[in-house]
């Protein structure tokens, strides 16, 4: 029964310990058939990227509630580039103002960002569509 699974790293970077959202998402992704590697709290960007590479995830999903999103997302993207792992998609969620979301997406640092109010259904669909599309391109 070895079916291909979407593998996702759900991460909590930085010092913020509020993991309600990350855990609810992790559970929803599991219920949608994905394999979720949960990074735990207080991760550095280096730890997250290393985990993403070893676990060969399709996507990294980061939850940032500490306002540090403008430094964290670019840093992770930079590290992925250094490791030749830019094919790993980066997305996330948290307390991120619309303006910043636009900036991060336009500058290519992030694929998508979800704010409080987004449903797990939305997020799961987005991930499934995007990952499937990327995998098709690679083939």
């Amino acid at each position: 029964m070895n079916k291909t699974r979407i593998r996702v790293l759900v991460g909590k970077p930085g010092l913020d310990g509020h993991d309600r959202g990350a855990k609810v998402i992790a559970r929803a992704l599991r219920d949608a058939g994905m394999e979720v590697i949960y990074s735990g709290l207080h991760q550095t960007p280096e730890q997250l990227v290393e985990a993403a590479i070893q676990e060969d995830v399709d996507l990294i999903g980061i939850s940032v509630l500490s306002g540090a999103h403008m430094t964290i997302f670019p840093r992770i993207k930079e590290l992925l580039k250094e490791q030749n792992a830019e094919d790993i998609l980066l997305m996330g969620g948290g307390t991120i103002p619309e303006e910043d979301i636009e900036t991060l997406i336009e500058s290519g640092h992030v694929e998508a960002l979800f704010t409080p109010g987004a449903t797990t259904t939305e997020i799961v669909s987005w991930i499934k569509e995007r990952v499937t599309a990327v995998k098709a391109e690679v083939k």
Partner: protein
């Protein structure tokens, strides 16, 4: 993908490239070019020994794996870890959270940690687990650790992969009695009573020793019972030594070869089993039109008829 590209990835694996390691593991797990990949990898590896750590959820296996890894790293050895967690029987998905308890080694390039879900396979490990350990070996990780959740019968599967099986239990949770009930005594090469700072630890050690007195026939290896506490950092060196002692025993006594032969038998059987499963599915599918009266069908008859039809030369005998 074409063989050339695949060969390049395999070359990179042998050079210790982590991305290649991770990708090849995924392909083998997903059964993409598995046979081709494993042909190359198995030729290049020494089939080094695997230490398996199992036990009920929450026993502290991951923390022990982390501490053992630290001890191996102190001796400058490179460590490859596979952590298997059960996948949801409903969705097929899984939350793989063992990495969290191995944080110390998160950015150490000489430690590789890979999390796997059981993907519907009952028994605590999957078809590809042993292959994935060999891939890690191919990438240069000489110490191989396998962590699985073991409750009851599913501990037995880890026996088919690991050369040393460490069973981790906790005091005061009725683990001891459960373990004995589940027939775990045959599986364990080393017993660990973790969280030894909690009450009941000595008692449990005593209980296990007593059961061992009854079941051991005096020959070969008597599993030691080690008390450990990750919180207080006690017992870890002892555990390390006992594992090494078992390893030495396996080599000196020739038991390693005996067990390895059994591993091989299991793996070959599994390949046959997969093949037969696929064949059966085809045959069954093709035969759907023939079964008119399902309520009265005699399973023996149907089995015999389909077998005879498919394999032609053999007649199904009872």
């Amino acid at each position: 993908m074409n063989k050339e590209t695949l060969d390049q990835w395999i070359e990179r694996l042998f050079k210790g490239d982590r991305r290649a390691t991770a990708k090849l593991i995924s392909w083998v797990e997903d059964d993409i070019e598995r046979a081709y990949i494993m042909h190359s990898v198995l030729k290049q590896t020494e089939h080094r020994m695997v230490v398996g750590i199992t036990g009920p959820p929450g026993a502290g296996k991951s923390s022990l794996v982390e501490m053992l890894t630290t001890l191996y790293r102190d001796k400058d050895e490179r460590v490859g870890i596979v952590a298997v967690d059960p996948s949801s029987p409903y969705s097929g998905g899984a939350i793989l959270g063992d990495r969290i308890r191995m944080q110390t080694h998160g950015t150490d390039r000489d430690v590789f940690i890979r999390s796997m879900g059981t993907r519907g396979h009952l028994g605590g490990v999957t078809r590809s687990t042993s292959y994935i350990l060999r891939i890690l070996e191919g990438a240069g990780y000489g110490r191989l650790l396998l962590e699985t959740v073991g409750v009851g019968q599913s501990e037995l599967e880890i026996m088919q992969i690991a050369d040393t099986v460490v069973v981790v239990l906790n005091p005061g949770t009725g683990d001891g009695i459960q373990a004995i009930k589940a027939g775990i005594m045959e599986v364990a090469d080393v017993f660990v009573v973790n969280k030894a700072d909690l009450p009941g630890a000595e008692r449990m050690k005593g209980d296990i020793e007593m059961m061992l007195n009854l079941s051991c026939n005096g020959s070969g290896w008597r599993p030691p019972v080690v008390l450990t506490s990750v919180t207080n950092e006690t017992g870890l060196e002892t555990l390390f030594e006992r594992i090494e002692a078992h390893r030495a025993y396996m080599l000196e006594s020739g038991q390693k070869d005996v067990r390895r032969k059994e591993h091989l038998r299991q793996q070959v059987w599994r390949h046959w089993e997969d093949r037969l499963q696929a064949t059966f599915d085809d045959v069954w599918q093709a035969a759907q039109g023939e079964f008119r009266d399902l309520q009265k069908a005699d399973p023996y008859e149907v089995a015999g008829a389909l077998w005879a039809e498919r394999f032609k030369e053999d007649k199904w005998d009872e």
